[in-house]
């Protein structure tokens, strides 16, 4: 610990140093388009019977596909990586939350105007 310094931080990142031993479990999306749907699998044994549920969400907002995958847990809560700390009671609830929390969709908040101004600036 003592021999890890600010200089290590800078040089590791600048040189693109490999700091992990193996690639992540689902780190295979290079060059590919992000998947539009993602299956979650729930399995249970109940009274000796094997239950398997695969759930896939295809979500659109104003006709535009949502690219962030939703997963559902055994208790029916729905989760996505975009709002990692939030366990939604349904997929609809989670989509509403994604809209509620998007900085660009806050008409009463200065942040929306700030980001809109920037977007305009980029285009011109």
């Amino acid at each position: 610990m003592a021999n890890c310094s600010h200089e290590d931080l800078i040089s590791n990142i600048k040189s693109g140093k490999r700091v992990v031993e193996e690639a992540p479990k689902h780190g295979h999306q290079h060059g590919k388009k992000p998947k539009l749907s993602h299956a979650s699998k729930r399995e249970a044994i109940y009274k000796g019977r094997k239950i398997r549920i695969r759930t896939t969400y295809k979500i659109e907002i104003d006709g535009e596909a949502l690219t962030v995958p939703f997963t559902v847990s055994d208790d029916g809560r729905v989760h996505c990586h975009g709002l990692p700390n939030y366990a939604a009671i349904s997929a609809l609830d989670l989509v509403r939350r994604l809209i509620d929390t998007s900085p660009k969709e806050q008409p009463d908040d200065e942040i929306a105007a700030l980001l809109a101004k920037k977007a305009g600036g980029h285009r011109s």
């Binding site: 610990m1 310094s5 600010h6 800078i10 992990v20 479990k25 929390t101 942040i111």
Partner: protein, 318 residues
Amino acid sequence: MTAIRQNILVGDTARDQFLQGVVLLDQEMTGIRVVDLANFAQNNGIPLQFEGINQEVSTYDLFVFWHMIAAAFSLQVGNAAHGGPVFLPWHRMYLIRLEQELQRVLGDPDFGIPYWDWASDGEMAPEQQWRTELWSDLYLGEARGLVRSGPLGNMRVRLYQVPQTVRVTSDQPRPVWRQAALNAQSLPDRIDETSALAEQDYDLPPWSRFVTRGHRNALEGFLGGTTMHNLVHVWVSGDMLPMSSPNDPVFFLNHCNVDRIWETWMADNGQVYRPAANEGPSGHRISDRMLDVFGGDLAPADVLDPQEWYTYDTLLNV
């Protein structure tokens, strides 16, 4: 020398140093650009997509980046920093690293990150919780909207993850943004804290956010909806929501308190950690190396006793 971590409402010096220190780290440019970050992620096999301008980033931004790559590093269970047993030790390491960077820019080797005892605010009426002194210019600045007052009015966000696309956006630097108490009614309270401390096991199979018992999952906040640590993120909202949440320095006050609750649990139950080296999912075991952009080789076992780095002014009364 060991840092003493204090309650931010008690230690005025620690508070002022923390606020000053994060701004100093945010203003310390590194010569690293967004394209270097994308390159680093790619070399490590981490699927993070970037968009926006290729600007130079600060030391503080590198902590935001580190948190995002750890979160994007999917494991068989959870990721390299969340949704499993490693959640508590990884964030302990992360805070130690930030504390050391703060000590460096402040020129004070004894500086300790303060904590926010949120369960105390959680005891207040919901409409009072976001109107406390913590959200004033003496402390963290505005609870809602763009943070313009107090020392944190000088912080600038350069990289953030868009919840709807999970792409990392590099934008013109802008102030920190909050929506306190708009997406969650109340902070966790003492009862929530007590029940997390009453969990007998540190963690247990399936070692994920779906375990229905265990101190780690209770404290991370997946037990029974959105609770504890998770609820604090959702309560503050704005920049505290996506995986770029360290953009808001309140992230560190929250995690310092989470760490203090874990420390209280260990004072009661011993420095026990599971899974052991021969069980459970890879990346979460007691001797698995944790993802560290500083290039260190710490495993959960190495951080169970934090005394060589810091102690707390007080633990919780249980």
